[in-house]
């Protein structure tokens, strides 16, 4: 089926070439980093994780969010998700690919990455994260491919795929929970040392991932023959609305605990992020977008309008990207263990590598979506559902 990625319109190839250009630039920047060390990034002795790890954390959420389509479709037999569920599974594949690449570019000694498997260390959460991410990638590859193959042949998906699909549901939850545990078990990092971190991660993932999916579905409708249909998009929008409410509520809880308890170490990170650090404008943008998006997506009348929905999803995606793809990791490292503040800002090299990895993810996504859409075009099932 992969051969369908080789035949495409002019628009398709333009997109592929642009993405390849970004990947090329990212690779060159990475070569520079590889030769000169991670000193070419904005990270430091105090802020030892930066842009790469925060992008990884954000994208684990996008990957996990596929489950928001898998559960209604397979568990509740919500037939309307039939044509969109594969978009979620392929988005998961692309996101996990980016996650792994971000981990890779963050390594000080990338050639030794196999040490994680050669010396398996069950007490390290990073070991488990590597396990669950690889497993999730395999699961989605196999499931996505098998269902698409069956669809092409006009037969029901093979019987063996059912248990795998059911397995993928808790598995999706596990990838984001384990990723939260990377942070939530560290003494002395008060911003992360919170029992609701995993829940917060899941809430923001179930808002951000499906929001991206709605955007993708709207783009596909505009530029390809594929139409996910109005109803499924509205159903996904409802999921986004609920998840975003939960997410905002959970962040509110963190603020209450920190500021009502009045314990300085719990307040420091929030004060840095929202009152006096270099991320203040970004964090407030995120907050305002989050609140604005709630106004746009919660009332059914607003959500029902696809233009409003489009803007709501853009607002949610940017808001969560700032919150998790930036603030979470940096906020955890500032203040330092010495109660001092070391600012962090990514360098040009770091930004170029980051863009390259995102481009790689979008290339994987483009190719996978191209295959899925071609198959449906041939079957004549690409158009809007009746």
């Amino acid at each position: 089926m992969l051969d369908r990625a080789l035949k495409g319109s002019k628009g398709y190839w333009t997109l592929v070439i642009i993405l390849l250009g970004f990947i090329g630039a990212g690779s060159l920047a990475y070569l520079h980093q590889f030769n000169n060390g991670l000193g070419v990034t904005g990270m430091s002795r105090d802020v030892s994780w930066g842009f790469y790890i925060s992008q990884f954390t954000f994208l684990v959420g996008v990957a996990a969010s596929a489950v928001m389509l898998v559960i209604p479709y397979y568990l509740h037999n919500f037939k309307k998700f039939g044509r969109i569920v594969i978009l979620g599974e392929f988005l998961a594949i692309a996101s996990v690919t980016m996650c792994m690449t971000f981990i890779f570019v963050d390594m000080g000694q990338p050639m030794r990455i196999m040490n994680v498997l050669l010396y398996p260390t069950p007490n390290s959460i990073l070991f488990w994260d590597a396990m669950v991410l690889n497993g999730y990638l395999m699961l989605n590859l196999v499931i996505g491919w098998a269902t698409l193959h069956a669809e092409k042949k006009g037969v029901p998906p093979p019987a063996w795929s059912k248990p795998l699909i059911y397995l993928s549901i808790p598995w999706a939850v596990s990838i984001h929970t384990v990723t939260a545990f990377l942070y939530a078990g560290l003494p002395g990092r008060h911003f992360w040392l919170t029992a609701i971190l995993a829940v917060r991660f899941l809430a923001s993932a179930f808002a951000g991932g499906p929001a991206l999916l709605i955007l993708l579905a709207l783009i596909l409708r505009k530029h390809t023959k594929f139409d996910a249909g109005k109803e499924p998009i509205q159903a996904v929008a409802k999921i986004v609305a609920y998840a975003m409410c939960a997410n905002v509520f959970l962040i509110g809880l963190e603020f209450f605990t920190a500021f009502y308890s009045n314990i300085p170490s719990h307040m420091h990170a929030f004060e840095f992020l929202y009152a006096h650090g270099n991320l203040v404008p970004l964090m407030w943008t995120s907050t305002i977008l989050a609140l604005l998006s709630l106004i746009l997506i919660v009332p059914p009348k607003m959500r029902g309008n696809e233009t409003v929905l489009l803007w709501a999803c853009i607002a949610i995606f940017i808001s969560l990207w700032i919150d998790k793809g930036f603030g979470l990791v940096i906020g955890g490292f500032v203040p330092t263990p010495f109660d001092t503040v070391t600012e962090y800002w990514p360098t040009l090299t770091e930004t170029t590598i980051t863009l390259g990895v995102w481009a790689l993810g979008f290339l994987v996504l483009t190719v996978l979506y191209k295959v899925a859409i071609s198959v449906r075009e041939e079957l004549g099932t690409a158009g809007p559902p009746k």
Binding site: N36, G37, I113, A130, R189
Partner: protein, 264 residues
């Protein structure tokens, strides 16, 4: 309340589903806090350092101690503080004991530098999180590291509550005078993490850590598990502080504050 305490604890212990037998056990014995458990290892050795802050006075004293470590271990001198590598260094009281300070501490304390280094924690989070066992704890309590196994993920830096670890953001050899390096100790490469090793290489030869040797008696090295050791004698007669006791790592570096004359 007619139910007596023992009985209550037993019921509490039995009904603690999922609490794990050992947790229930310690509950019955009345030991609810993990930090109250003995941190002394079965090996009978837990190496430790006691730093008498009153005995280190001049800037030269501090420099002599930190230089002793950095020169024999080929620790590079990188001017950019974002990239610096340091095994032992000084900082203020407030930065050293951020949760044990109040606004009225004596000025001399406020202004005095404190020596900072890896605490060789009895329960080291850096070891807990390392995905390759590159950082590990030896039976004698030393928390050390194999730089050849380290993948440079810097998880240990996120986990250490004391900022004790340095990462080689750049090639450290560019900041070393290669004619002056100690040939008996390796230099490191870019992309790995490092920290104080409590001078494992010297201890193996029966020597004391280099900083202790250079401290003119201000630092004392010994075995915490031996009640007759020098370190235990100081700890039982002087008032000492450890850094961030609340995080439960149980440091093996102790600071004598104020000296014996004030403690009595």
């Amino acid at each position: 309340m007619s139910i007596d305490r023992r009985k209550f604890l037993k019921i509490a212990g039995l009904s603690g589903i999922g609490m794990g037998l050992s947790a229930a056990d310690s509950l019955i014995k009345g030991k609810a806090h993990a930090s109250e458990e003995s941190s002394l290892p079965e090996s009978g050795v837990r190496l430790a350092l006691v730093i008498d802050v009153g005995k280190i006075r001049t800037d030269e004293d501090y420099k002599r101690i930190t230089d002793a470590c950095h020169s024999i271990h080929n620790v590079p001198n990188i001017p950019n503080t974002k990239h610096e590598v340091k095994w032992i260094w000084t900082d203020t009281y407030e930065h050293t004991f951020p949760d044990q300070t109040n606004e009225f501490i004596p000025t001399e304390m406020k202004e005095k530098p404190f020596l900072l280094l890896c605490n060789h924690c009895a329960k080291p989070p850096c070891v807990r999180v390392c995905p390759t066992k590159a950082t590990f704890k030896r039976p004698d309590g030393i928390v050390t590291q194999d730089p050849h196994r380290c993948i440079g993920c810097r998880f240990c830096m996120a986990a250490c509550p004391y900022g004790s670890r340095s990462f080689n953001w750049v090639d450290p050899r560019k900041y070393l005078d290669m004619n002056k390096v100690n040939p008996d100790y390796p230099t490191r490469t870019m992309g790995v993490v490092e920290k104080c090793t409590l001078c494992v290489e010297r201890i193996a030869r029966g020597l004391e850590p280099a900083c202790v040797e250079a401290s003119n008696g201000a630092m004392v090295f010994g075995n915490l598990a031996d009640p007759n050791s020098k370190v235990r004698k100081i700890l039982s007669t002087h008032y000492t502080l450890i850094r961030k006791p609340a995080v439960g790592t149980q440091p093996s570096v102790f600071y004598v504050i104020g000296g014996g004359e004030n403690a009595g």
